[in-house]
C-alpha cells in the first residue's frame, strides 16, 4: 500500500486548501525558513491520530488551526485528509482507496471520517494498528530530533524499539 496524497485546509500555515501528491521513491520538500515544510510533517502526524499537541510543536490542539495573518482572518477549523492506495488490503477495510479525514473546530469539537463516513478517533487508531503506519518514532523524524536517538538515556532509547517489537 502506498501514500497517495495529503490534503490540508486551515491547518497551521496552510490557510488555503493544499494538496500534496506523493509518488514512489523520494519526495523532497524544500523552501525558505518558516514557510511551512515542517508543518506538512505535523499534518501527517495529526491525520494519523496524533493526540499530543507538543508532538506538533503546539501547546493546545487549537494551535493547529490557521490563526490568521496580516491580511487574513483565522479560519474556523483545520482539516487534513490522508489518502492511501489500499489495493494490497494492508489496511483492514474493504476499499481499494482509503481516505482518512480529521477536522478540529475552534469550539474544540473534532470530527473524523474514513472514506467520508463519520467515525471515532478510536477507529482511526485501530485502522492503522499493526500496519507499520502511525506515529512510529522511527519512521517520522522531526526537525532537530535525530540527536535525541543517541543523546537520550539508555532507558529512554527503548521507546524506539518498543514500537517496532
Amino acid at each position: 500500500m502506498h501514500f497517495k496524497r495529503l490534503e490540508m485546509f486551515g491547518f497551521k500555515s496552510f490557510a488555503d486548501r493544499t494538496q500534496v501528491r506523493l509518488e514512489q521513491g523520494i519526495t523532497a520538500v524544500v523552501g525558505p525558513n518558516g514557510c511551512g515544510k515542517s508543518n506538512i510533517l505535523d499534518a501527517v502526524r495529526w491525520s494519523l491520530g496524533e493526540q499530543s499537541a507538543r508532538e506538533m510543536r503546539g501547546t493546545h490542539m487549537l494551535d493547529l488551526i490557521f490563526n490568521g495573518s496580516e491580511n487574513r482572518q483565522p479560519t474556523g477549523m483545520a482539516e487534513v485528509s490522508i489518502t492511501f492506495d489500499n489495493s494490497d488490503s494492508r489496511l483492514p477495510v474493504d476499499f481499494a482507496e482509503v481516505q482518512v479525514t480529521r477536522r478540529l473546530y475552534r469550539s474544540g469539537e473534532s470530527e473524523y471520517f474514513i472514506n467520508k463516513t463519520p467515525c471515532r478517533l478510536k477507529d482511526i487508531h485501530e485502522l492503522f494498528m499493526d500496519t507499520g503506519i502511525g506515529t512510529n518514532a522511527y519512521s517520522m523524524i522531526g526537525q532537530g530530533k535525530i540527536d535525541m536517538v543517541l543523546s537520550s538515556k539508555p532507558e529512554d532509547r527503548r521507546f524506539l524499539f518498543e514500537e517496532a517489537a
Partner: protein, 160 residues
C-alpha cells in the same frame, strides 16, 4: 513478549553493524542490552567507532558522526519493521556533502518498498528526489506548495 522483543532486537543489532559500516565506510558499532536478564526493562547501549579512530564514548563523536550513527540505528529498526512511508525532517542538517551522499545511498535501499518524504536544504538530496515540492509564502503567513524542477528551487528567497 520476551521472545518477540529479543528476536526484533537481534535483527536490529545485526542491521546496525552493517549499516554503520556502510555509512562510515568502515569502522564498527554495536548495540546491546545493558541487562540481558531483563530484556523488557533494560536500557539499550550504543557503541560506535569511526574508521581509523579508537573506541570512545558516543558523546565524544562529532555532530555529524552522531547524526550518521543515529541514522544507522533508525534504518536498522526500519529494516526490521518497515513502514510503507517515512518522513525525515532535515536529518541531513549536520552532514557534510560526502556523508549526505552515503546517507542517500542507504535511503535508496529502501525506496523500492517504502516512500520517503525528505524535508531538506541540501542540493544533493534535491537532486536525488523523484519529485520536488517547494513551499513558499508569496503572501506572508500563508503557505503555498508548488511543484518545482531542480533548477528553480526557491531556496534563497525567505523573508526570514
Amino acid at each position: 513478549t520476551i521472545e518477540m522483543f529479543m528476536e526484533t532486537f537481534q535483527r536490529v543489532a545485526d542491521n546496525f553493524r552493517v549499516f554503520f559500516r556502510r555509512l562510515f565506510n568502515g569502522g564498527q558499532a554495536r548495540i546491546y542490552l545493558l541487562d540481558e536478564s531483563d530484556p523488557l526493562e533494560s536500557g539499550i547501549e550504543v557503541e560506535a567507532r569511526p574508521p581509523g579512530k579508537k573506541p570512545q564514548g558516543i558523546s565524544l563523536l562529532s555532530g555529524g558522526e552522531q547524526a550518521m550513527t543515529a541514522t544507522a540505528l533508525l534504518f536498522s529498526i526500519f529494516k526490521a519493521k518497515p513502514s510503507p512511508f517515512c518522513v525525515l525532517d532535515e536529518v541531513d542538517a549536520a552532514l557534510d556533502d560526502a556523508n549526505i551522499g552515503r546517507f542517500l545511498n542507504l535511503v535508496q535501499e529502501f525506496t523500492d518498498d517504502s516512500q520517503f518524504i525528505i524535508i531538506t536544504h541540501s542540493k544533493q538530496t534535491m537532486a536525488r528526489a523523484n519529485v520536488l515540492y517547494g513551499v513558499t509564502m508569496p503572501e506572508r503567513g500563508v503557505s503555498q506548495l508548488v511543484s518545482v524542477r531542480f533548477d528553480e528551487v526557491p531556496e534563497a528567497e525567505s523573508a526570514a
